[in-house]
């Protein structure tokens, strides 16, 4: 920090061509701190002197204790700034005795200066506190005041993060607990969050609890979607058969009930789907059976009721997923509906009309006794005398023997006893055949359930794997970050004291600075040599304090480095700051360069006690903003380039 106390060891005169208002007294060599009013050179020392100063030390213009005393030829003393202002703005007369007075009739009164600087004052810190508890109150010799301010607990310093003015003694606490820009770790997700964004984060933290809008269960936020998609009993879902045409929608907890009550509907829907699939792949289920109705001249669709031998069913269903299941299911379903609607549609259904037609069944039973599959065919004229004659083993006739008509029944009657012998077993077989069909549906369901469970399991395994990988990625990201930092650190070391900082997205950053979101930005760190001092540049794109909105402020901050133990402190040397003119024509480039010489008594040059020294050193008014933005060559491709050369005295 460098106050511009003109009564004290002077800070270096301002060298920057854009640095100040022109008067060498109002230099702008200002650190993080506001200019303390006590060091405002435009008038005398407006402080509480202990004991109260003798009136002879007062400047009769400002009525304060003389700062940089000047004496007139007529023997009156004034602060340098006061008397010069008076002579420039008013008549050339002594303010006390009205005698003619010219600037060259003034001389510096070093005697008075020494005497005034030896007076004792009460530390005026803090500036605006009515609180008696929070006062420094220390009594210091005036010429030690500046030094005292560096250590005074109630000196107001700017927080390096949020640029808020904070008492020095509160800074570390502020940085830790109050600063709006401090990073805090979310206790839930362990992510680092800027304090003033905490609320926002809390509202969105993936690990925070929130209530399911449906079932009011408390859940971790990032699990909510999963919960809604697969668990929430009250989530509104579509029936899992909706792709097959089921339009039922409702709470998930009602789905089980729906599934139970709609098995038949669902199976029927699935059948339709299968049929459509078959049609799409031009698959004819019936041609795949051993006895095709169409081969007997019966169109499969017009007369889909096909009596099948019991033994042929299992093969359709056991092969569940294979194509042969399709015709099997179709037959089965049609069969079922047939059973319900026309239990006695005789001619076409010899194997099913068993209850009402025992006799007919005889011949059929005889047939199927020999061979498994029998197809029915209407309009088949063939006489069944062959059956009558007991020619049951004749395989040619066997095919047609089942397709009996009513008039044929007479011939059966001639051998009632035979029929009676077979009646019971046929009944049993047919009934068990229906059971079998249900069994098959059931086994298919079971199969599907099993498959679903398997998929669920696989899904779980995959999820677990994904979590593992996410964790791995996070770890790797962390490692990459560390490596990046190392690389950056190395880059910073190899510049040999020269560091070029490209500030990309200038416009965006400038706007942020203007809005006060991010007023200060810091460069990455760099070293004065491989084992040298570690520093960084700070820039306030919209200026700071008095230069706010008018100038670019530029400072150097020392940082804790690895080799601080080897180095000499305070830093002594030269720092050259340059804003680069990026004009493509080299001759036209007009870089803006300022050279700073270290001041060993300033805190900015002491060995940093924190990660980055809070006190910086540089120019509050480095460059007027209108110069930067008025010229097209300082900002090019939205990038501002700042160079720093650090040359320690060896």
């Amino acid at each position: 920090m460098a106050y511009n106390g003109s009564g004290l060891p002077r800070t270096p005169p301002v060298t920057g061509q854009y640095s100040s208002s022109g008067s060498s007294d109002n230099s702008t060599f200002i650190p993080d701190l506001d200019v303390h009013p006590a060091f405002d050179t435009s008038s005398g020392w407006d402080l509480e002197f202990v004991p109260q100063q003798d009136e002879k030390y007062n400047c009769s213009i400002c009525q304060c204790v003389l700062r940089e005393p000047m004496q007139t030829e007529c023997g009156h003393r004034f602060c340098r700034a006061c008397i010069l202002k008076w002579l420039r703005e008013s008549d050339r007369r002594c303010p006390v005795d009205n005698q003619y007075l010219d600037e060259n009739q003034l001389f510096q009164d070093n005697f008075a200066k020494r005497e005034t600087l030896d007076l004792k004052v009460r530390c005026p810190n803090p500036l605006n506190s009515a609180d008696k508890e929070q006062r420094c109150e220390q009594i210091i010799t005036l010429n030690k005041l500046q030094k005292h301010f560096q250590d005074c607990p109630y000196t107001t310093v700017l927080c390096p993060n949020c640029s808020k003015g904070i008492y020095q003694c509160h800074l570390s606490e502020h940085l830790q607990n109050d600063c709006e820009q401090r990073k805090i770790q979310c206790s839930l997700c362990h992510q680092e969050v800027v304090a003033n964004k905490q609320k926002e984060h809390d509202e969105n933290c993936p690990e925070s609890f929130m209530q399911c809008p449906n079932c009011e269960q408390s859940l971790i936020r990032h699990k909510l979607i999963q919960h809604l998609n697969s668990d929430c009993p009250k989530a509104y879902v579509k029936c899992s058969f909706h792709k097959h045409g089921c339009e039922f929608e409702g709470e998930r907890q009602k789905m089980m009930e729906h599934d139970e009550t709609s098995v038949v509907r669902h199976v029927s829907m699935m059948n339709q789907t299968l049929l459509r699939m078959c049609a799409a792949i031009s698959f004819n289920p019936i041609t795949s059976t051993t006895h095709s109705p169409s081969s007997l001249g019966i169109p499969a669709i017009e007369n889909p009721v096909v009596g099948s031998g019991a033994a042929s069913f299992p093969s359709y269903f056991i092969n569940g997923a294979s194509g042969s299941a399709v015709p099997g299911l179709t037959q089965l379903l049609n069969h079922l509906s047939q059973l319900q609607i026309q239990p006695v549609t005789t001619a076409s259904l010899p194997p099913i009309s068993y209850t009402s037609m025992p006799i007919q069944s005889v011949s059929y039973a005889a047939n199927i006794g020999g061979q498994e599959t029998v197809a029915a065919a209407e309009g088949h004229d063939r006489n069944i005398t062959g059956d009558e004659q007991g020619d049951l083993t004749n395989s040619e006739q066997r095919n047609s023997s089942g397709r009996t008509r009513y008039e044929d029944t007479k011939s059966f009657t001639s051998k009632p006893s035979d029929a009676n012998n077979f009646e019971v077993p046929i009944d049993t077989r047919l009934t068990s055949s229906n059971d079998y069909q249900f069994m098959s549906i059931k086994s298919q369901n079971d199969f599907q359930n099993e498959s679903l469970a398997k998929h669920d399991h696989e899904l779980m395994i995959l999820k677990h794997q994904m979590e593992c990988q996410e964790r791995l990625i996070r770890e790797l990201k962390g490692k990459v970050k560390t490596l990046e930092n190392n690389v950056q650190d190395f880059e910073g070391r190899n510049g040999n004291g020269v560091y070029v900082w490209k500030i990309k997205n200038y416009q965006k950053l400038r706007r942020e600075a203007e809005k006060g979101e991010t007023t200060a930005i810091h460069s990455t760190s760099f070293y004065s040599s491989f084992y040298g001092y570690k520093l960084c540049i700070r820039v306030n794109l919209n200026g700071v304090d008095a230069a706010k909105g008018t100038h670019l402020s530029l400072f150097i901050h020392f940082m804790q480095g690895e080799y601080d133990d080897l180095l000499e402190w305070p830093f002594s040397g030269k720092i050259v700051l340059t804003v680069i003119d990026q004009n493509p024509i080299c001759e036209m480039r007009n870089h803006l360069t300022e050279t700073l010489h270290s001041k060993p008594n300033l805190a900015a040059f002491q060995r940093p006690t924190s990660f980055r020294n809070h006190k910086g050193f540089g120019y509050m008014e480095f460059l007027p903003l209108n110069v930067i933005e008025g010229s097209s060559t300082y900002i090019k491709n939205d990038t501002l380039i700042i160079r720093a050369n650090i040359t320690p005295n060896s």
Partner: protein, 200 residues
């Protein structure tokens, strides 16, 4: 440099309050607003003058450029004085104009005004009528000034003859202050006074 102005006035204010003159009730300064840009001064009429015993209120306005420019001061109390306007209270005093010096303070300004009451400067008048009377008819001037001090500044010396004349003109239907001004300006000749009142 408004802050210099304010800081100085703050110090001066403290100084005046502690000063000997305040202790003796010769002068007084009060704040009108919190930012020290407006103050209210008070001076006691100097003894052995026509203003003896009167309390004169002053309006003081501090410019931003203070102390490099003088404060703006005028009388709020009506006063009969060659260098002070009997109408507006404006003061003609060199130190409040071109002879201002930054070393002057509120205290010295008030004391200078007090001195001005004691030693009028009729050759550099603010109020020509008063100055004329002062030069041509010193006795009437003193009576008038004393009367005004009694009426407006609470001075102890009553001028009963003048009071009667004011009453007389007032009874003719004129407002009291206007009547007093007219009479004072007409060297207390009621006829001339009423004439001027009727013509105005």
């Amino acid at each position: 440099m408004a802050n210099i102005a304010e800081a100085r006035i703050r110090r001066e204010f403290k100084e005046v309050v502690k000063s000997e003159e305040v202790a003796k009730c010769h002068i007084k300064v009060e704040l009108v607003n919190d930012n020290y840009t407006e103050l209210r001064g008070e001076i006691i009429g100097p003894p052995d003058t026509a203003y003896d015993g009167g309390k004169f209120i002053l309006e003081i306005k501090i410019p931003d450029t203070y102390p490099f420019n003088p404060p703006k001061v005028k009388f709020a109390t009506k006063i009969w004085h060659p260098n002070i306007s009997s109408v507006t209270g404006a003061i003609c005093l060199d130190i409040l104009k071109d002879q201002w010096a930054a070393a002057m303070t509120l205290r010295t300004v008030l004391l200078s005004l007090q001195a001005l009451l004691a030693t009028a400067e009729p050759n550099d008048p603010q109020d020509a009528v008063v100055a004329k009377q002062y030069k041509e008819n010193q006795a009437i001037f003193l009576q008038t000034a004393r009367h005004w001090t009694n009426v407006y500044a609470g001075g102890p010396h009553r001028e009963q003859v003048l009071e009667q004349k004011v009453e007389q003109v007032k009874n003719m239907g004129f407002e009291e202050h206007r009547a007093r001004v007219a009479l004072s300006s007409a060297n207390w000749d009621p006829e001339r006074a009423t004439e001027s009142l009727l013509n105005s």
